[in-house]
């Protein structure tokens, strides 16, 4: 052994002991972990956990914004019992309406988004960008602006576009009252929502489709797939499962949380004959018109439960499994 190698050995052992030290320090020093997690935990607690907990707590109380919340009867379940047994408007109109609206616009909008995204992915980059922007525009404009546009189109007098066209063609003799009669409002709401359903889910799916490795398609063609349909089934969808799941959850949440469109179209809450009344409108009605915050909170909790239930279904269909 010469001096050089000895020195080397010394150096090596020093480095080793240093790193061991470092590891040991890491193990004992929990503060840094907390420090690193703190911003996220703090923000999440402040903006998500506390409001949800407060809402759930409020749902067991009677609260009219002026007095202190009072604990409700029936061990606090008074609001829930009222909703599920006494609230005729809720059981008769709001719940069936919401389910109908959500079941059609959720999966419908989801399918439309996927089809549109897939079609856009088949064309060149420049027109794709322009068209994607155009399709995304309704989501940027928001419910009120869409309401204004479609109120002109579906206006209930002769000056409405649809009525004018139908009258000119001789299909009807008097203008149809599209937005105030209750017979058409729900279907118009569904139509408008589908029209404007290219939202954030659409963008994520477009990105997902564009990210699929092109070589996979080539390989699949060599392996024997024959057509575009098989391409979608065997390559595109399996490769973009995360985006599909994201799109599905966004579609479900969006469908159940929508409420502005009916009020924006009809111009009043409650909507005529409760035809376009969704849970969110009902919450609005109780929370900000009647100031029964406890009741409104209970409704929100029920809405949360429904959304969770349907999200579970989405996870079962698209989640990472097997």
């Amino acid at each position: 052994m010469n001096a050089k190698s000895l020195k080397r050995k010394e150096q090596l052992s020093k480095v080793m002991s240093d790193s061991l030290d470092h590891l040991r320090r890491l193990k004992t020093d929990k503060n840094s972990t907390i420090l690193l997690l703190a911003p996220y935990v703090l923000l999440f607690t402040m903006f998500i956990i506390i409001p949800v907990v407060v809402a759930i707590t409020l749902s067991f109380t009677y609260f009219n914004v002026i007095e202190m919340p009072k604990f409700a009867e029936f061990y606090g379940f008074y609001n829930y019992i009222m909703i599920l047994t006494q609230d005729e408007v809720f059981l008769r109109y709001v719940l069936p309406n919401t389910l109908k609206y959500a079941i059609i616009t959720g999966p419908g909008g989801y399918l439309l988004s996927f089809i549109m995204a897939w079609m856009l992915s088949q064309i060149q980059a420049t027109p794709r960008k322009i068209l994607a922007l155009a399709l995304y525009t309704p989501s940027m404009l928001g419910g009120v602006f869409i309401g204004v546009i479609f109120r002109t189109i579906f206006s209930g007098d002769k000056s409405g576009y649809i009525n004018s066209i139908l009258l000119n063609m001789g299909l009807i003799s008097t203008p149809l009252d599209f937005l105030q009669s209750g017979d058409y409002l729900m279907n118009i709401m569904i139509f408008v929502t589908l029209w404007s359903s290219m939202g954030i889910g659409f963008l994520s799916m477009l990105a997902g489709i564009l990210n699929v490795n092109k070589e996979m398609y080539e390989a699949a063609y060599i392996d024997g797939i024959k057509n575009r349909l098989q391409e979608i089934f065997y390559i595109t969808i399996p490769s973009m499962k995360p985006q599909m799941l994201f799109g599905a959850v966004m579609a479900i949440v969006g469908a159940f949380n929508a409420g502005g469109i009916g009020v924006a179209l009809a111009g009043s809450n409650p909507t005529p004959q409760y035809a376009g009344q969704l849970i969110v409108n009902h919450i609005d009605d109780y929370g900000f018109i009647r100031y029964e915050m406890g009741y409104a909170a209970a409704l929100s909790v029920i809405l949360l439960a429904i959304i969770l239930l349907f999200s579970r279904v989405a996870y079962m269909l698209f989640g990472e499994k097997d």
């Binding site: 047994t85 057509n227 349909l229 089934f233």
Partner: protein, 706 residues
Amino acid sequence: MRIKKLILLVLVLLLGFTSLGLKTEVQASSSTTYTYALDDNGDFVQTQDAYLPGQTITYLGLDKPKDIAIDENNELVIADAGNSRVLVYNPVTDTIVREIRIEDYQMHPEIEDDPSYTMTNPTGVFVVLEESTYVGLGDIYIADANALIDGVSFGLIFHLDNSGNLLEVFGKPNSPMYGGLDFLPEKVSVDKAGIMYVISKGTSDGIIQMSNTGEFLGFFSSNAVTLTLREQIQQFIYTDEQLENLGINLTPPVFTSVFIDINGGVYSSSSGIQVDNIKKHNTQGTNMFADIFIATNLLSDIYVNDEGIIFTADQNGYIGVYTNDGEFIYTFGTINDVSVAGFFKTLSGIAVDNDGQIWTVDSGNSYLQSFAPTEYALTIYSAIINYNNTNYEEAIRLWQEVLSLNQLSILAHNGIAKNYLQIEEYQLAADHFKIAGNRDLFSESFWELRNIWLQAHLLQVILITFLFTLFYFVLKFVDKKYKIFAPVRAAILKTENVKIINDVLYMRTVSRKPADSFYYLRRKNKGSYLGALIILAITFLSYLMFVAGKGFIFQYTDINDLDLNSIILGFVVLIGLFIVCSYLVTSIQDGEGTMGEIFKGFAYSMWPFILGCVFSTVFSYVATNNEIFMLNVIFYIGIGWSFVLVFLSISEIQNYTFGQTIKSILLTVLFVIIILLVLSFIQMTIRQVFSFFEEFIKEAVRNVFS
């Protein structure tokens, strides 16, 4: 003693017979036509006589009377068009109270050039029954399309007071809005504000509304042209000239009468093939009786009594009666050339006096005919009135009386149920609505019943669900630790591994992972023909359950009315044909599959359909009309999913592209239709041949043996 007894017996018998004979004689002679109501399938069914022909008044010397009204003294006001007069007749004292003629009448003879009016053809009369600042009690309005002003023909409306003095005359409105249309008033009605509602001959724009000074206010309501689908397509494509040559009538059905009742409600009748011949208008003229059942469609007159019960006259001699909600009660009367009380030639006017008697004029006959209501009719009206006045208990008692007369009266069951609904006796209401076949209101009462049940049991339901969930998780946890269910699982696994059960259950996998599954079905040892057959049998059973076994609200055809044979035959034939045709079509289009594979693929696609049928059937027992959407969604998702699976199975089995698959399915459907047509032709031909030989043999037998 014995003789005395015998005589007594004979006397009693005699008395009995005579009284019996008398009774039957009365019944037989008084009613000349049957009364018809609706049964729960919406078909006409004979019911008790509602009205019996009463007086027939012949001596008034009427000639083509066109209209009749009742004035404030319960006297009849008759538009005797043929004699150019209006007659006020009192049927109780049997006297002509007044005869109104207007001949060269000048209202202000002192003024020079004052026009003189002549009434020649009064076709419509209206009597004001409620006084206001604009109209006096008993004022008479007369519509005359052929009146004369200084000898020149004009359409006019005369306004007279209750003693027959001419007050006002209204002619054609000179507003430019009215334009160049003719003004030939046939019928007139007046509301409290003196606003006139006029029906003008040949005006298809609707009912003319005129102010109390005779200004044109607008067309009150109009009828829509109803065209068949073919005519609509022709109208869309052809030019106006072509349409004219075809003779397609684009003018809407005409209004025949307008009536304003004591509460100011405006009613109108129309004549023509359309659905809304009886209208009750709101102030804007919109029809509030949008989808009521109307028994006849050539209506000539309408009358509404103080309680809102609607009486209609049909040109073909039918008198119809409807409730104030437009619900059909019954109809009676007929057309016949024989002069028998209760038969009509051209029924033109109807009115009902304060005693409930119907008075009719017939422009073909020259006499007045009255009809007196029977106890049956009066009880029904009384029940309806009590319902409207919220005397529900009394109404129920009356409806029960009607039911004791006629157990099958749908109207009575409906009426009684509505009262029960009002007093919140939902179970009774539901029972009666069920008998009456009224699904909408049954749904309403069922909703209430369900709600009551929920209110009573919700906490228990939640508790039980919670306990069960808890129990489930506890069991799961215990099982994980101690494997207590291992034998059960093994048993299930064993049954699932039995070949045939495994084959059948494979359809679940198919519905979840179609693309791979169809491949395995074809290339690997998955599924079998027997399994496919069993699946089809299950499919058929669940479909049958869906068709025949839904809850009352959704079971539109009664199970007894279903033709089971045709359902079975249709199911088997359609599926068989589809599979065979699909094979024939695909085998000449580069398809790779065999018929057996197509059969298996089709059968194994049926799992969602089975689920859809079963779930929507079960759901239909707890659902009401409110949840009909959910029911449809379940069913259509099942059908849609199964259809997608069939599509994928063809695509996968034949190794087709998307376009090729669509093409082959369309061709298959076309082929199925062609085969069905050919089969029906063959069947018809065979029947012809059979009947030919049958006739032939019959003829031969007759000739040989006689």
